[in-house]
């Protein structure tokens, strides 16, 4: 097991280097970088000192050096904790991301909690009461959730908020708290709004989870050990939760690991853009659009890192919950 983990970590590190290189290269790919665009703008404005200004900027961001050297520089600095500077914001990347990390994590946790707290009981209910009206309602809802794209759902919610409730945007705070220092009122305000994006992401994530949970549990309920547990005189509830669900939920642990960790970095960027949330997602998408390479590259590397960590955690969790894997 320990060997396996070490091998996995080594493999993950290689992948990480590869991904960082490729993402750096991809962002380099388009003809013309951020500064070329800037020069165009300055020229168009008739700024005489444009050339000189740009030259200074070029030096400052190291854009005058060859690609490989830049990558190595960036990678080395990255390991030191210096992620470079954003062209767009003209501030360090760590500062920009740091300001938004908290909300992103809060949202990721809220989404996960809402999703799982709804999906697992619904899936269990659906399987235990197979073919009942409730099961059919749950099936229809999960089918819709499965197909529904989050950002369109967010758009529909935004429409309702604007037209019906006459709001200007959704966001995470009411206008009066947006720039206010933290207080009990601000926290309550956050909580009263947090459930909207959390629920949107949950609805779209629930569909798949409910269907997997229902299917797994139906398989498990037909297993002899469930009947054997009932024959021991256990309560139905105990049989279902302690024996059947306990087994049926194991494969879902993998999903937990590989979903939650990446969402800490970007979450559902698209939903966040529609709802105007102060999370990392919108900044990331914007950085890609504007070729703001250090910002975008940092996001991609962290995203990949989280994906890899998530997979590793999922493996460990699976081994932890399932002795058949743990003791192999």
């Amino acid at each position: 097991m320990v060997n396996y983990i070490i091998r996995r970590i080594g493999y993950a590190l290689i992948l990480l280097v590869l991904v960082s290189f490729v993402s750096f290269a991809i962002i380099e790919l388009p003809p013309g970088d951020f500064l070329t665009q800037k020069i165009e703008q300055l020229r168009a404005r008739g700024d005489r000192s444009a050339e000189q200004q740009v030259e200074t900027l070029r030096k400052r961001y190291g854009l005058d050096k060859p690609f490989l050297e830049r990558y190595v520089n960036w990678a080395v600095n990255f390991l030191r904790g210096d992620f470079g500077e954003s062209f767009e914001f003209e501030r360090p990347v760590s500062e920009i991301l740091g300001a938004r990390l908290g909300y992103t994590i809060i949202l990721a946790i809220a989404t996960t909690v809402v999703t799982w707290a709804l999906a697992i009981p619904l899936g269990v209910y659906s399987a235990v009461k197979q073919y009942s009206i409730g099961d059919q309602i749950v099936s229809v809802i999960s089918f819709i959730g499965l197909g529904m794209p989050g950002f369109l759902l967010a758009l529909i919610i935004l429409y309702i908020a604007v037209i019906v409730f006459n709001q200007d945007a959704i966001g995470l705070f009411s206008p009066e708290y947006r720039d206010a220092p933290w207080s009990v009122g601000k926290v309550l305000d956050l909580l009263s709004r947090l459930w909207i994006p959390a629920l949107i992401s949950a609805v779209t994530g629930i569909g798949g989870l409910v269907r997997i949970m229902r299917g797994n549990l139906l398989d498990t309920l037909g297993q002899p050990f469930v009947e054997a547990a009932r024959a021991r005189g256990l309560r139905n509830r105990t049989v279902i939760w302690k024996h059947a669900v306990r087994i049926a939920i194991n494969p879902l642990v993998t999903i937990l690991g590989s979903d939650v960790f990446p969402s800490i970095v970007v979450g559902s960027s698209l939903v966040a853009i529609v709802l105007n949330l102060p999370t990392i997602g919108p900044v990331f998408v914007d950085s890609l659009r504007k070729l703001d390479m250090y910002l975008a590259g940092t996001c991609i590397v962290f995203l990949t890192l989280m994906l890899l960590i998530g997979n590793l955690v999922a493996d460990l969790l699976l081994a932890w919950v399932d002795p058949r894997i743990r003791l192999e």
Partner: protein
């Protein structure tokens, strides 16, 4: 639910008390294509400490009968008639409660209720056909036993051996340490080597034979008055089978436990049971003492069944007999006697018209066949 206090349970000529009495039991499955009569008019009883064998081909209703007794008939199925009388002696009488015998009709008990859950596993335990998958994979052998023990086994409040022991009326649940102790003891009794270590083994670390031993240990850890064994050795190798059967016989002797032994293996049943019930397509076709059944079978189906068993002896070299014809469609059972299309003693105009009754054909010997009706 019928709860009648009675002084004594019906006893037989040899003075043994009846434990379970199945009377004209009917179980039906309503499926899309129609109604399947999985059990149709089954009558037999089991005395305390006795082993009754139920034998028949797969699909004849043996397993459904077992599940009906524990009120665990799977979904589209339900009990549609008859009674299952359970003569219950309270094992842990509480002060102020009647201590005498209760007669419970299990067919009228709430299948999810408190009462049936006390009986299931505690008073009537069951072991299953598939030892490989009858243990929950994520729990150790000890956890399984612990679950049953802490649910059903109560200990007197004062230590055993105390002078007051006989009059003790208060009980407590076993503690965690005691449950573990019991688990180790049980594993030792069913012949698992190094039980102190094996108690912490997960199912996948045990062999098939060991798993079935664990199943038996779970079932017996609660000291039930009856064990239902549903083809407990079918999935095992022959050598393991013999060991398991030995263990069951041994434990039965020491614990005075009744066994309802379900199998399709005549050899196994001959060595285990005192009395045998033969079933065919949900109907009971013959019931007799084991010796009578093997040496003097009455029903043509039983005879055919016995002839299809390979045997050592003077007649070796003969072709093995097989039962003619096909097992009928359970949705479309033959008229009259359900066995008539395959019966070598078929009487045209009679067997396909008249439903045979349950006829006594000897002492403690019954058969459902028109050959024995006037």
């Amino acid at each position: 639910m019928t709860l009648t206090a009675q002084e004594t349970a019906p006893t037989t000529t040899d003075g043994r008390e009846v434990l379970l009495e199945v009377q004209d039991l009917k179980v039906e499955f309503n499926i899309r294509g129609g109604v399947i009569k999985a059990v149709d008019g089954l009558t037999f009883d089991i005395k305390r400490g006795q082993t009754v064998g139920i034998i028949g081909e797969s699909g004849c209703g043996k397993s459904v009968t077992a599940r009906a007794i524990l009120r665990m008939v799977p979904k589209p199925g339900r009990i549609t008639g008859g009674r299952i009388l359970y003569y219950r002696r309270p094992r842990h009488p509480k002060p102020g409660q009647p201590q005498d015998l209760q007669v419970i009709d299990l067919t009228t008990v709430d299948p999810d209720g408190e009462l049936i859950r006390q009986i299931r596993g505690g008073e009537i335990a069951m072991i299953f056909q598939e030892p490989m998958s009858s243990l929950t994979p994520v729990y150790t052998a000890g956890t399984h036993i612990n679950e049953a023990v802490s649910l059903h086994r109560l200990l007197p409040l004062k230590k055993l051996g105390d002078q007051m022991a006989e009059t003790i009326m208060a009980y407590r649940h076993v503690t965690r340490e005691e449950a573990r102790e019991i688990a180790v003891q049980m594993l030792r009794r069913v012949g698992i080597p190094k039980p102190e270590q094996r108690v912490d083994s997960y199912p996948h670390q045990l062999s098939g034979g060991q798993r079935q031993r664990v199943m038996i240990a779970i079932a017996l850890s609660t000291e039930p008055s009856m064990l239902i064994a549903d083809e407990p050795t079918t999935a095992l190798d022959v050598s393991i089978e013999a060991q398991i059967l030995d263990i069951m016989r041994e434990l039965q002797r020491t614990a005075n436990m009744a066994i309802m032994f379900i199998t399709h293996n005549l050899g196994v049943i001959a060595s285990m049971a005192e009395e045998i019930v033969v079933m065919y397509m949900g109907k009971q076709v013959e019931r007799a003492k084991v010796v009578d059944l093997f040496y003097n079978p009455k029903h043509p189906y039983t005879k055919a069944l016995l002839q299809s068993v390979p045997r050592l002896g003077p007649k070796t070299g003969q072709r093995l007999a097989s039962i003619e014809g096909m097992v009928p469609d359970p949705l479309n059972l033959p008229t009259g006697c359900v066995f008539h299309p395959r019966c070598p003693a078929f009487m045209p105009g009679k067997c396909d018209k008249i439903v045979p009754r349950w006829n006594q054909v000897g002492e403690n010997h019954w058969a459902r066949c028109l050959l024995y009706e006037e």
